[in-house]
C-alpha cells in the first residue's frame, strides 16, 4: 500500500504543477489579448485620463512579473477580482452559478452513465444483433442531432404540448422559494429540508434539460463502452474464464466490465468535464442560471476577470478530474498501482 501512497503523492504533486501551469497560461493569455481592460472598464465615453487612472488602480502599469505576483497572491486568498460588467466579485458570481451547473451536470452525467454504459455493454455482448443495431442508431443520433434543436423540440413537446415538464424558466417555478442551502443542489436540499413540494418542482424543472444533455453525451459513452467491451470480450482471459465455466453474467460484469472500465472511465471524465463547463445552449433554452451563460456573457463583453476565472475554474475541474480518474485507475489496475 505504500506504493499506492507514493503513487497518489506523485499524482497530486503533478496535479498541483498542472494547476500552476494553468494559472500562468491563463494569466499570460489574458494579458496578451489586444484589448485594454482599463479602457473597457472605463467605457466608451471615457477620456484618456480616466483610462490611465483605471490602469493604475488595476495595476496594469506595473511590470508583468509584479502583476503575476499580485494575481497569484489574490488567487491564494480566493480573490478572483471583480467582474467589470457587473462590478461584483467574480468568486461570488461563479459561486452562485456553480450549484445550478453542478446539479444539471451531475443529473445529466448520472443519466448518461446508467444509460450509456449498460447500453454499450449490451450492444457489445450481442454485437451485430438487432439490439446492437438499435443502440448504434441511438448513439449516432445522439452524436449528430443538434443540441439546440433537440432542446427546443423537447420544450415544445414535453412542456408546451404534454405539460410533463415544468415551464422552462430555470430551476424552480416562479414564486417557489429555494430550499435552505446546504449543498446548493435543490433536489438534495429540498429532501434534507423535508420539503416534498419543492423537490417535485425542482425535479420537474430538472429532468428535461438533464435528459436532453444526457442524450447528447451518452453517445460517446455508448460508443466507448461498446468498443472497449467488445475488445475485452475477445481477450484471452475472457476465454480462460469461459473455459473454467464462469457463467455469462459474471463474465460480463466481473471480468468484463472492470477491464473495459478503464477506457470508459477516461471518457466519463471528459464528459463530466464538458458538462461542468456549463452548456450554453441548454442553459439558454431552459433559462438555467448556470456558468455557461455567465461565461458567454463575460466573453462577449470582454469581462477579463470573469473569463479568466471561468477558464481557471474549468481547467481546475479537468485537472482534478484527471487526478481522480488516475486514482480510480490505480485502484482498479494493479499494474499502475504497484509499479
Amino acid at each position: 500500500m505504500s506504493n499506492f501512497f507514493n503513487f497518489i503523492l506523485r499524482r497530486f504533486l503533478l496535479t498541483i504543477i498542472a494547476v500552476f501551469g494553468v494559472i500562468i497560461l491563463v494569466f499570460l493569455l489574458t494579458r496578451l489579448l489586444p484589448n485594454n481592460p482599463a479602457a473597457l472598464r472605463a467605457g466608451p465615453l471615457a477620456d484618456a485620463e480616466l483610462i490611465k487612472q483605471y490602469e493604475r488602480e488595476m495595476g496594469l502599469d506595473k511590470p508583468l512579473i509584479v502583476q503575476f505576483g499580485t494575481y497569484t497572491g489574490q488567487l491564494m486568498r480566493g480573490d478572483l477580482g471583480d467582474s467589470w460588467r457587473t462590478s461584483q466579485p467574480v468568486r461570488e458570481e461563479l459561486g452562485i452559478r456553480i450549484p445550478a451547473t453542478l446539479e444539471l451536470a451531475l443529473s445529466a452525467f448520472i443519466i448518461a452513465l446508467f444509460f450509456g454504459v449498460p447500453l454499450g455493454i449490451i450492444a457489445a455482448f450481442y454485437s451485430d444483433s438487432w439490439i446492437d443495431q438499435i443502440v448504434r442508431v441511438f448513439a449516432t443520433l445522439g452524436a449528430s442531432l443538434a443540441l439546440f434543436w433537440l432542446a427546443l423540440v423537447g420544450v415544445y413537446i414535453f412542456y408546451y404540448l404534454l405539460h410533463w415538464a415544468a415551464a422552462p424558466v430555470g430551476r424552480l417555478t416562479i414564486g417557489i422559494n429555494e430550499p435552505p442551502e446546504i449543498t446548493g443542489l435543490f433536489l438534495i436540499d429540498s429532501l434534507l429540508a423535508g420539503d416534498i413540494e419543492t423537490f417535485k418542482d425542482a425535479f420537474n424543472h430538472l429532468w428535461l434539460p438533464a435528459c436532453t444533455l444526457a442524450f447528447i453525451v451518452s453517445a460517446p459513452i455508448i460508443k466507448i463502452s461498446r468498443s472497449s467491451m467488445k475488445d475485452v470480450l475477445n481477450a484471452d482471459y475472457i476465454r480462460t474464464a469461459k473455459a473454467i465455466g464462469v457463467p455469462p453474467t459474471k463474465l460480463l460484469f466481473k471480468d468484463g466490465l472492470l477491464n473495459a472500465f478503464i477506457p470508459i472511465l477516461t471518457m466519463l471524465g471528459i464528459v463530466f468535464g464538458y458538462l461542468m463547463g456549463g452548456n450554453l445552449i441548454v442553459e439558454q433554452v431552459f433559462a438555467w442560471p448556470g456558468i455557461g451563460q455567465y461565461a458567454w456573457k463575460a466573453l462577449s463583453t470582454n469581462d477579463f476577470n470573469a473569463v479568466q476565472s471561468f477558464v481557471l475554474l474549468i481547467a481546475v475541474v479537468y485537472v482534478s478530474l484527471n487526478f481522480i480518474i488516475d486514482l480510480i485507475y490505480a485502484l482498479i489496475n494493479p499494474q499502475i498501482r504497484l509499479e
Binding site: 489586444p34 484589448n35 479602457a39 473597457l40 467605457g43 466608451p44 465615453l45 471615457a46 477620456d47 460588467r85 457587473t86 462590478s87 461584483q88 466579485p89 468568486r91 461570488e92 458570481e93 461563479l94 459561486g95 452562485i96 452559478r97 456553480i98 450549484p99 453542478l102 427546443l152 420544450v155 415544445y156 412542456y159 408546451y160 415551464a167 422552462p168 424558466v169 430555470g170 430551476r171 416562479i174 414564486g175 442551502e181 446546504i182 449543498t183 446548493g184 443542489l185 442553459e283 439558454q284 433554452v285 431552459f286 433559462a287 442560471p289 451563460q293 455567465y294 456573457k297 466573453l299 462577449s300 463583453t301 470582454n302 482534478s320 481522480i324 486514482l327 480510480i328 485502484l331 482498479i332
Partner: protein
C-alpha cells in the same frame, strides 16, 4: 477482491465529499449579497399591515416579465444594461419626470413635457441659470426617512465626484461642473446654479441617474476606499422611487414590490409585485407566453411576431423609438474621404427592402440622424429615392472610382438584424462595383475595434437617453465626441449643437435642428438603415406597458 472494493468505496466517498465541500465553499446568494433591502421591507410590511388594509395590495396581480438580458447591477450611477435601466428607474425618483400620456393604443409614453416628481414645483431664473426646486415634504425613502434636499445634494455630489458616467453629461448639457453649484437652501429647497443656460437641463435632472439617494444610507455603507458606498449600492437600494427590490438572483430573477413609503400611496399601483425573470432564449420566451406562464415578454424577434399574432390570447404593444441604425463611413479613410463616394454608396442601397426584410416592417427609415419620434425630426432633406444605380455609378466615376473598390464592413455578429442589413448593403453596393467584405466580430471585439477609430466602414446604432436632437447630433457629429466614429468634423456643426443646447425658443431650436439634419445628410457619413419599433408581447388583458425616455416601463401602471 474485497479489499479493492473498499478502496473504490473510499475514493467514491472522497469524491463525493469533495463535491459537497466545493458546494459549501461556494458562497450562496444569501450569504454574499446582503439583502438588506429585503429585510427592510419585510419589517416595513409589518408596519403597513398594522396601519392599512393589507387586503387591497394582495388583490392586485403579480406581473411576470420575461427579460432577455440580465441586470448587471443597480448602482444608480454606474449600471450598464437595459434591464438595469428599467430597474433603477423604478427604484429612484429624480426631481422631475416626463409627463406620461397614453397613446391611441393605450401605451404610456413619456412626453416632452416635464412635471414634478421629487420636486413639487420649481422656478428658473430669467437668465436661465438658476434652478430652484421645492421638494415634496411627504416624499420618503423605503426605510421611512424623509427625502430632503441634503439627499439630492449627495446624489449630485457622487454624480460629479464619484465614478459614475453622468459627470460626462452634466457640464456640457446642464452647465454643472462642480458640486459647489448645488446648494441646499433648506430641508426642502435645492438650488442649482448653472454656468450656462441650457434647454436640456430638465431632461438631465429628470434622468433616474440623478434620482434621490439617501445620505444616511450612503454614509452608513461608505468605507475609506469607497466613500460613495458604490459597492453596497450595486445590489442593495434604499429607494426613493415607487418600488423596492425584494429578491436579487443574478441571471435568474429579480422581484420588485411597491415601496410602502412612496408618497403617491397604494392606489398608485396596478400590481402587488413585478417579477423580472431572465429567459435568454427567444423561442423559450414565446412558448412561455403562449402557455400563459408569463405575462409579458420582451425581446421577441420581429420575424416571429406575425406568427404569434395569430394567437388570440396575446396582445402586442408597439412603440416608436428614435434608435437610428446606420452604416458609418470614416471620412479620414480612403475612399470615404470623398463625399461623392459616400453619396454614391448611399444611392445604391435599397432602403425599403431593408425595412421589409431586416425588421419585417416593424419600423421605418428615419431619413435623418434625428429619429422619427424625436422632436424636430424632418425627412425633407432626404435625397434618395430607392436605388439609383446610374447616378451612383456616375458619381463614383466622377470621384475617380469607375471600377468601384473593395472595403471591409465591421458588424457585431450577435446582432442578427445588423448582420442581415449588412448583406443588403453588400448586395446594393455590388451593383455599382463596390465589393463589401462583411467583417463579423463578437460584440466585445466589435466595440474594441470601433474604439480604435480606425474602421473605415461599420454598422452602428445610436439612441439618446434624452429625447432631443442636441444629444443625437452631439454624440455623433461633434468633432471631439468619442462616439463620432465617422470622425466627421465641421465647426459649423459644433456651433449648431452649442446653440441647440443653450437656445430655449422652440421655433429657433427647430430651425437649428433642421440645419443640423441637413448638414448631416449633405455630408452623407451615414447610410441610414432603419429605426425599429420597440415591441412587447403580453397576455391579453395586460395593460400599462409604456416607454419613457428615462426607462422603458413604469412598473406601477402594469396590471392585468
Amino acid at each position: 477482491m474485497k479489499v479493492r472494493y473498499t478502496n473504490i468505496l473510499v475514493v467514491m466517498v472522497i469524491i463525493f465529499s469533495m463535491i459537497i465541500v466545493s458546494c459549501q465553499s461556494a458562497p450562496t446568494p444569501e450569504e454574499t449579497i446582503p439583502t438588506e433591502a429585503v429585510q427592510l421591507t419585510d419589517e416595513i410590511e409589518g408596519v403597513v399591515e398594522e396601519t392599512e388594509q393589507p387586503a387591497t395590495s394582495s388583490e392586485k396581480p403579480t406581473i411576470i416579465v420575461a427579460i432577455d438580458g440580465d441586470i448587471d447591477h443597480i448602482e444608480l450611477q454606474q449600471f450598464r444594461t437595459i434591464a438595469g435601466y428599467d430597474a433603477t428607474a423604478n427604484l429612484y425618483e429624480p426631481l422631475v419626470t416626463q409627463k406620461a400620456v397614453q397613446d391611441e393604443n393605450g401605451v404610456w409614453i413619456g412626453s416632452n413635457d416635464y412635471v414634478g416628481a421629487g420636486a413639487e414645483s420649481w422656478e428658473v431664473s430669467d437668465d436661465g441659470l438658476v434652478y430652484t426646486f421645492h421638494l415634496r415634504k411627504e416624499a420618503k425613502f423605503a426605510d421611512g426617512t424623509p427625502v430632503t434636499a441634503k439627499d439630492y445634494y449627495i446624489t449630485f455630489d457622487r454624480a460629479i465626484n464619484g465614478n459614475g458616467y453622468i459627470k460626462l453629461l452634466l457640464p456640457s448639457f446642464a452647465g454643472v461642473e462642480s458640486i459647489d453649484q448645488v446648494k441646499v437652501i433648506d430641508d426642502y429647497t435645492l438650488q442649482i446654479t448653472q454656468n450656462k443656460a441650457s434647454s436640456l437641463s430638465l431632461i438631465i435632472y429628470g434622468f433616474q441617474v440623478l434620482g434621490a439617494m439617501s445620505e444616511k444610507t450612503i454614509k452608513d455603507h461608505a468605507t475609506a476606499d469607497d466613500p460613495w458606498a458604490e459597492t453596497w449600492h450595486r445590489n442593495n437600494a434604499n429607494p426613493s422611487g415607487p418600488y423596492v427590490i425584494t429578491s436579487w438572483k443574478p441571471g435568474e430573477e429579480y422581484v420588485f414590490e411597491p415601496n410602502p413609503f412612496y408618497w403617491r400611496g397604494p392606489d398608485y399601483y396596478g400590481n402587488s409585485k413585478v417579477i423580472y425573470r431572465v429567459i435568454p432564449d427567444a423561442s423559450t420566451r414565446e412558448q412561455l407566453l403562449r402557455a400563459g406562464d408569463i405575462d409579458i415578454a420582451q425581446g421577441i424577434p420581429y420575424k416571429d411576431i406575425a406568427d404569434l399574432q395569430k394567437d388570440s390570447n396575446l396582445t402586442f404593444f408597439k412603440i416608436k423609438t428614435p434608435r437610428v441604425y446606420h452604416a458609418g463611413m470614416n471620412v479620414t479613410k480612403k475612399p470615404f474621404d470623398d463625399v461623392r463616394v459616400r453619396k454614391a454608396v448611399s444611392m445604391a442601397v435599397d432602403y425599403q427592402a431593408i425595412v421589409d426584410n431586416v425588421i419585417y416592417g416593424f419600423g421605418e427609415n428615419p431619413k435623418s440622424p434625428v429619429g422619427v419620434s424625436m422632436p424636430t425630426h424632418t425627412d425633407e432633406f432626404w435625397p434618395y429615392e430607392g436605388p439609383n444605380i446610374e447616378d451612383a455609378k456616375a458619381l463614383l466615376a466622377e470621384a475617380g472610382y469607375p471600377d468601384g473598390f473593395e472595403v471591409d464592413l465591421l458588424v457585431p455578429q450577435e446582432d442578427q438584424a445588423r448582420m442581415d442589413a449588412a448583406t443588403w448593403i453588400q448586395a446594393g453596393l455590388a451593383t455599382i462595383g463596390v465589393k463589401v467584405n462583411i467583417n463579423a466580430q463578437p460584440t466585445a471585439q466589435f466595440n474594441s475595434l470601433l474604439d480604435t477609430h480606425e474602421q473605415p466602414f461599420y454598422m452602428f446604432e445610436w439612441y439618446s437617453w434624452g429625447n432631443d436632437p442636441a444629444f443625437q447630433l452631439h454624440w455623433n457629429f461633434r468633432c471631439e465626441a468619442w462616439t463620432n466614429y465617422a470622425l466627421y468634423c465641421d465647426p459649423a456643426m459644433d456651433k449648431i449643437i452649442d446653440d441647440l443646447i443653450v437656445t430655449s425658443d422652440p421655433d429657433k431650436r427647430e430651425e437649428l435642428s433642421y440645419q443640423g439634419q441637413k448638414m448631416a445628410l449633405d455630408t452623407a457619413t451615414w447610410i441610414y438603415l432603419y429605426q425599429n419599433d420597440w415591441v412587447v408581447a403580453a397576455q391579453k388583458g395586460v395593460t400599462g406597458v409604456g416607454f419613457f425616455n428615462d426607462l422603458h416601463t413604469h412598473f406601477s401602471n402594469l396590471t392585468k
